[in-house]
Subunit: 306 residues, 5 copies
């Protein structure tokens, strides 16, 4: 199929990457119901690692089965599916060719007392499992932030050479950051910008709040007279921080919430020029039919139909 | 999208390969108008190397431009496009994500006096260019056949580890083979079987004639009382020789010929259970509109509509 | 011999692994008196490293001899035998072909003050010693947990490429975990799930108690109204946490205990859908005849005969 | 074009380096309006990493776009452009051949609580992106200074072998240094000298103040009766500390300031024999036309025309 | 400086290459008096290897000195200078930054009895010497042609990864080729096409004669009714064979000849759409002033001024 003009335009932003990486970005951007629009809705299932299996899957027990998530992503017409090694290994053969996958190469867990992540997969794993991209998390602000950035540097270089795309989850935490500061507008935009500077192709951050954490940033915002009162305006600022829209940026839904809240968030992402949603717990912790209905509405929102 | 049951069945034949390789086979099998049927029509453009540019492209001068072939393969709804390094490099970025590509890793030319091929690309090239498969030619019968087989061994191993598929062009020539023997039924089946034994995922041979080259083979054929009088029966024998249908086998059209001949050949491939056609000169040496019409008919033949 | 349908089904869960790894899993699953049932009883002898030789072997002095354990595993009709490098080296030749072995690649000892393990073997060791699998321990919760996970990542990748299976001992300890929390249901299920996410083929955890360590998990358990009052129900939850039964999970017997307790535990593992027992001190600290009798009963329990 | 005698002279100072490194130094020294004079004005854009995107780019929003900076450097007739990986990747293809680039290989950020930098790029990245030099920051005085110096050692060695030049940002901070001491004359000269000793080709420091941090240094200065009352005299001392002028040394402008101050600083650098300016925020935080006018004046100052 | 639109267009043809390679192509295309026009005149000095020093340099003894050639290329305003290792090593430092260089990585000599070339340099040499490109010769038709092509494959891959450009000298000889056939139109176009297929960025061939060597090719030429009676038409056919103009193709002057013949040849190259001339013996075997005058006229021809 011909790649759409909008997707061609997006690929042109990744001007220094080889055709292999662009083809894998195209795979994500041409997949599912949003295929060709330049928008993405991705299913991530790393919550089992982050919060344990019961907190992740007990609300909807079929989700204990790795195949459930592959099938959900396919049936909902999503753009891709992201998970750690074991989850991908458990379904990559059954779903070969069905959905682009993103192999999460590092993982944290809530039994840990340190703000770091363990490497739990490799670029060679991503190739043998047929993944389109690798994914890595960094915690800007953490005392381990530089180690995590160096992991990104090394693995992203290897992935790009092998024609894979690179997704960076940038979640500020630790150090001098307040809890509120972790999702503050200035911090969120900063975290997204650093992921772009590290060479990420797709950046994942949390939707920013109206809180401003750093005094220096507040002064600049006030001086530049930019209004960040609406969620869409805040999304637009994060998009701007990602090379003025030259990098794809998706926003996580965070903890399970009510549908109206989710839909409003998606509309804000759309109206602010964000690339889309990466929506895990809100997808797989609902019964399958409800999840499909919810994802249908979110896709319609990105298609401008809801 | 869900991969069709027929494609799932075919992928199950490649049971020892990793999901990456299966995903790339799925890409070829789910692409274009034959996507999902288990049939393939592939455009190969290595004739420039084999016969020189004028003999290849002068009949239809727009074909001198590498982009022409990518676009033809996309517009005709083909399954994939195969070519040597330079041709793929010249369009892989413009057509990233548009069509699965097969990087031909060895090439011969008609200025050469030896029945061998030069390595002209690598698995790393295939990865950086976003190819789904590597392709290699062997000349069973040639004094260089074992060297070429050893190249297949080494590069196929590397490709499979990296999640790529492997296509082997198996063209008997040289040694004790008569010219007629190069396409003899027994020799063709033998060549296809050796490609399967070398670990090829997709095997490309020429449609066999009714000639039998080897006396020993003739005796067996006669004893087993198998009739090979029709082209479809001969195709069926080659398919049988490819692990009883567990390997995909495509047939080349050879030199440009009249349309009726081409269509009859495609029907014989279809009726004999072959996977499809790999059709170069007959595609790109015609004016584009004629080529599209011809490929449309061939696709319809494989779809059982012509 | 034909592999049984049940074992074939289990092997199919390891869909992304190569036939070498599956063959080694099949070796474990087709060995001994439980061969073909999908159940496993494994003899581990790493207690010498963990607790010193006297605490391990003085109760039954013949057990100081490495050959004792190989012979016990063979004579009892067990599925496999796991031990560190020196123990395997001391008997691998005499017992070559007699029993599948698992080379424990890391080891801790009770003279150490840190909650970590030393690497004490390699994948190359496992291959030269004819082992079917490598084994590694992680301590989720420990400040060294991420380093241990990264060892699993690296060595499991290497083992899988070489066609070996991977067994992960997942023993929570350290950090914020209370002593009681180390075997809490939520923590145990979490530890098992992380081993699955790291790509383990066989997961070894301790049988969970009814204690719940994390408040967040308790809320989920209560909300989901799942009863975990019986040992079998708790085992079933751990099995669920291992990809809904797509991963083999064996439970250790822990400290030597009375026979009734051991048998009840095995019945709970069986009734909860666990794969079986990995039973060290309770085997080799008894006189050989008593041990054989005990293992006979446990095997009968898994066979549904006791 | 012939390289000018002045540039030939400068290249002769790098007598132990290979012609590749000299050619890349020549590229920087022959580029733009100062080409051939031995003077340099470089645009660095690493402030997004250091201070976040809003503090860096909100004052002049077009600067959020990476192409903006490449174009500004070209249009202003500068000598080179320095930035971290993502910024270079986002424009290296569009501006291939237009301006020498310096890939910043390490980066710090103001969310971090430690005085270190993360490695965020490689020499291989610099080669594939067509850069003329790598850049690295060290923090003499910091508890991490030796790690950073060791990074310089390793990466500079690799870069020199590949024919690239090496730029070192030497910014004293941490340890026993007072805030005022970070720009003290003795400390600044010391920091510059250490960069030279580490093998840097181009050294970047802040313009020194008249403050003397170390008592030992003050004694020496007094004994030697050298006057450092004027900015030009202090620049001359730093130049002297850089192998008596055998190493190129550029000075940063620091925070945005008024034009008169900037011009005075440039005149002091010129009069003290410094190589030139590396001027980031003062360039890209002004509207483009103002920035071009300012850079025009600065270049004229170095040309002796203002 | 901004790269011209014409050069940007040419760079876009190398769509699969990294920015480093494009920057080096830009260096060649922006250098000298033809800088920015898309035309190239290159000085090659490998004749000492090919024919010995006396036959190469005795007609103009100052040319024995390697510096002579660097200076000639600079003073004549040429695009680049190509030579084997020793010649480049002997001047690369003195002329660092003055002229883009092409390191010839293989070399033949007239004392040899085989139609092959020896590898005499490496990609690492090219980097340490600051070269913009590597150069390799192949002899299509020779019994060693495939070995030479395999050298191109390996070294071109390495060069492209390091951001260098690749120039291939494609000189048919040996095997079934007649002496006249070595410069036959069909053979020349074929040789150029194979260099393009091998992934060359710049292709160097001899200007084709009106002779047609292969019967098969003659038939195609006649059938396609293309007239190749004029030198310009023949050049145009070779350009067409180089991916329809998507690859730069330069023509050698061959043996020293009279000025009128040289100028006519350059006009034919220009009128046929060739990229330019690579002109060795005709440059350095004349006295310097005559050579400069001749090169001035040739450059004017490419500028459309003569």
């Amino acid at each position: 199929m011909n790649v759409t003009p909008r997707v061609r335009e997006i690929l042109s932003y990744y001007e220094s990457n080889n055709p292999g990486t662009k083809a894998n970005l195209a795979r994500l951007l041409m997949q599912g119901r949003l295929g060709g629009t330049g928008k993405l809705v991705i299913l991530p299932v790393d919550q089992g690692f982050e919060h344990g299996p019961a907190r992740s899957f007990a609300p909807n027990p079929p989700a204990y089965d790795p195949h459930y998530h592959f099938q959900l992503a396919v049936d909902a017409g999503l753009s891709g599916y992201a998970a750690p090694l074991g989850m991908i290994e458990a379904g990559a053969d059954s779903f070969a060719g069905a959905i682009p996958t993103i192999l999460k190469l590092n993982s944290a867990n809530s039994l840990s007392t340190i703000k770091d992540q363990a490497l739990t997969g490799s670029v060679a794993d991503a190739l043998r499992l047929g993944c389109s991209a690798i994914g890595l998390t960094i915690y800007p602000g953490s005392e381990h932030a530089y180690d995590m950035m160096e992991d990104v540097r090394e693995l992203a270089e290897e992935a790009k050479e092998a024609g894979l795309a690179v997704v960076v989850w940038s979640y500020p935490r630790g150090g001098v950051l307040s809890k509120e500061g972790e999702t503050a507008l200035d911090v969120c935009a900063y975290a997204a910008h650093m992921a772009a500077l590290l060479g990420a192709h797709i950046i994942k951050v949390k939707p920013p709040t109206a809180h401003i954490e750093q005094d220096e940033a507040r002064k600049v915002y006030e001086k530049a007279k930019v209004g960040f009162s609406t969620p869409a305006a805040r999304i637009a600022h994060v998009v701007q921080a990602c090379f003025n829209g030259r990098r794809l940026v998706v926003f996580s839904g965070g903890a399970a919430k009510d549908l109206a809240g989710l839909y409003d968030e998606a509309r804000a992402i759309r109206d602010g020029g964000g690339t889309g949603s990466i929506i895990g717990r809100n997808s797989f912790q609902r019964p399958r039919e409800e999840a499909l209905q919810m994802l249908d509405t979110i896709i319609k929102i990105y298609l401008g139909q809801a």
